[in-house]
Symmetry: C2
Subunit: 281 residues, 2 copies
Amino acid sequence: MIQPLQVIINGQLIAEKEATLGIDDLSIVRGYGIFDYFKTVENRPVFLEDNLDRFFHSAELMDLPIHYSREELKRQIQLLMEVNNIPESGIKLLLTGGYSVDSYSIAAPNLIITQQPLQRNLGQEKQGMKLITYNYHRPFGTVKSIDYVMGIQALKKARTVGADDVLYAQEGLLSECPRANIFLITKTGTLLTPGKDVLAGITRKYIIEIAKTHLDVEIRDVTLEDMKNAAEAFISSTTKNITPILSIDDTVYGANPGPITMRLQQMLEPIVFGRKVDLRC
Amino acid sequence: MIQPLQVIINGQLIAEKEATLGIDDLSIVRGYGIFDYFKTVENRPVFLEDNLDRFFHSAELMDLPIHYSREELKRQIQLLMEVNNIPESGIKLLLTGGYSVDSYSIAAPNLIITQQPLQRNLGQEKQGMKLITYNYHRPFGTVKSIDYVMGIQALKKARTVGADDVLYAQEGLLSECPRANIFLITKTGTLLTPGKDVLAGITRKYIIEIAKTHLDVEIRDVTLEDMKNAAEAFISSTTKNITPILSIDDTVYGANPGPITMRLQQMLEPIVFGRKVDLRC
């Protein structure tokens, strides 16, 4: 018999299909909450400490107290992994604004931990994606907020013009994709990525570390001009790893991923997956 | 015996304390949903048709199909009013992104109708409030989205400087408060209110109608200069009716509500409440 998928709400294990929040939770009435997300590879949580750092950072900035210690959170995650037994998975920690007495004030947050099977999209990582720029800057850029209203609406626009997603850009500066960080590689081989008021992606962090041993890396304001003049581009996230970008708006980088992007993919592979995967087309 | 408060979820009556949404609803995981809100006065819904118009408008713009006809929604509202029997109340229609298969795509929306006792804050309507400007413009301005992350954070900032709430202003233009529309009255007695990309407040609509019979009314871009030069200011909403503004940032309009504001309050009163209430201090 297959066990039903379990989740943990406020420390209690419960079957996912029975897991609910009361309708006065501040996520439902005011879209207020934060989360974080990491994956497991062969039952090993990947970059868990980094994700917990960011989870506590987001919670603090949005005034959401976490009523568990870091060690207790890790115990809950471990328990969930044991009962669900999904070796390749994504685990989400979601912290909402809680049951608000006046539908506006932050209350005692509800903490939900979920786990879902996660299948790698190797095709997309090999073939790449197309982006369009979208005039927006995410407020509270360093916070992993649940607020994806713009991301969901923008994706619709991207698809109507044959693109796969959007890249937020405002006042001439790139910031990030709704669910990924952006990198450019200049014609002289320098790696560029925006540094201010964007999500501190964990995959981004390790890409910067490995790139520094081989390339010049500049973490700074990245302009639309940089974008137009770049030789290569890619995005990074927990689910997308390094995914090449073939074009942004009318700027075409090539029909295939660029060579430095592919080299970085190869270098990132053992750090994330602990073994080599052939990413060549 | 006092009956427990009832709500309606997807057409079904249920006790409010048992009313829940599954944790994969798009409001919880991505802050995605819209709502509308009207009050009842002596068991009479106030401006219901206007609110339903705006509810359908918000839903359409955010790609959320409403699986009930307007008449069926009215029947559900009527039923809820009968079982709860709260003559002076606020009724909310909340439409979420639904149970998303991939935690990102819009699914069949969940529709929640709630009713709560609503007590008028006459003290605030008589004495007025203080605002500070806050650099933000609400995306999808004509949509009554559940996205109040900025409003909740901004309120915290307002309170630290002794103000009651914020007024969004960006690039020199006022737009709205997080939960109310803004009006200025110039020194020459013209009523000003922003017209572009702000919520089409229902109370705002009736204020404009009554003001037009007595004042020049300009619905146009309203600048920070207009704000500094104005003689009076007030905000409007379903719960706040016309609430005078005594100051915005360093601009002080007076220690007491202005005379035109008070006159408009008196004129609005019978339209909203069907009878006169003495609003004089």
